[in-house]
Symmetry: C2
Subunit: 236 residues, 2 copies
């Protein structure tokens, strides 16, 4: 276990469990160095991650302080700071999928540009409705190049595609770019997400990357408006 990860986890636990209460000043970096018997840069790295997670603020000349946040705020922040598929995100709940479509097709213009493909490249096109505890959460349309993700079958789409990528193919997911938008629902969406006519939806367009910089997924998720909230922390 890396030192800065261990220190980070320790401090995060102290914050979430209230050992370091709201507005409480953290020990000075110098003192944390002594406590953990590490150098200043290692402490700084751990604290900087807590800053990026939105849990603390640092102020030169004064010290570091825990932000005033409710337990719910803290919980939402910790979820927001992790990139996971639906299955992992709701790991405490029953996640199921209805597979509406699973085909291998030639890439179209949009997918080609999002995934940096050439004409005649083939992609999986998968449409799934994702349920959490039997409640429909979203309709996911996913495109993946068959060259990067070989051997994908219907059974994986019914479970977790991300598990297949990470555990069977042993690939590493690095990052994702997301764009969130809003619009009116279509009749198709109303039917599958149990929406009323005129209800709105949120769309999340995502391009996800492996650690070798190749884009392996372009997806669009249509979310039920009442079951969607997106959290983020922005640092200046």
């Amino acid at each position: 276990m890396l030192k800065y990860i261990k220190i980070l986890n320790n401090l995060r636990t102290e914050i979430t469990q209230g050992v370091l209460p709201e507005n409480h000043q953290l020990p000075f970096e110098k003192d944390l160095c002594e406590k953990y018997n590490v150098s200043k840069m290692t402490i700084k790295k751990a604290l900087d991650i807590l800053v990026s997670e939105g849990l603390i603020v640092k102020k030169r000349g004064c010290g570091s302080f825990v932000k005033n946040l409710s337990p719910e705020d803290i919980n939402r922040l910790i979820i927001a700071n992790h990139f996971r598929g639906v299955s992992a995100l709701y790991s405490n709940c029953k996640v199921t999928s209805k597979l509406l479509y699973f085909e291998i097709i030639p890439t179209d213009e949009i997918t080609k540009s999002k995934l940096n493909l050439v004409p005649d490249d083939f992609v999986y096109k998968i449409i799934r409705i994702r349920y959490v505890d039997d409640i429909p959460m979203c309709i996911e349309t996913t495109f993946m190049p068959i060259e990067i993700i070989p051997g994908l079958k219907r059974e994986h789409a019914l479970q977790s595609i991300y598990s297949y990528i990470q555990e069977n193919l042993n690939l590493k997911i690095q990052s994702a770019h997301r764009t969130i938008r809003v619009r009116k629902s279509t009749a198709f969406e109303q039917e599958h997400l149990l929406l009323n006519k005129h209800d709105p939806i949120a769309t999340v367009e995502q391009v996800a990357y492996l650690d070798n910089s190749s884009a392996f997924e372009y997806s669009v998720s249509i979310h039920h408006y009442d079951r969607f909230a997106f959290e983020t922390v922005i640092i200046r």
Copy 2:
């Protein structure tokens, strides 16, 4: 100018201007150390920021690579990586405001908990419609504690409150927590944002912090659905 900022800006310019084209491998950190005559940690800091901005990927044992992104993608990422008020975000456009409400009121329950106030604390309540090039973009309802932001006047609300905070009060804005949601529009919102009946809206709830860890702003923005998109990069 800090060394890592200078190197960061240099490399970002090379990426956006295509000097380092798509899929191109960046020089090795060792070589960048020589080129800029700095130590390894300084180069690493600059590159790590580019990773967090979503522009490059690093792979141990191989090197660092520019992501395959269109110029539009890159532009959106750079905007997404900055926290700014509406005025600064659309600095190339004409930003105006219609002031619907400007009062000092006792804090209510929600505002009190978001801003960590005590009962009987007073806050500004400001409701504005923000126009970009005369098109209504959003309705902003803003609460700020009078103790932290003294002397705010109607004239500031008609211009940029963030400018007043930074330039007149000389306070430093550190971060913001945002929650994005979706719902149907109300008659009030339809009127002011030029929406049709049944049109949806996006809400952005924000708590913003100064660098001394105090929450100075709680705001809710109601965005026209067609003129709203939110970009983000998520790193594993």
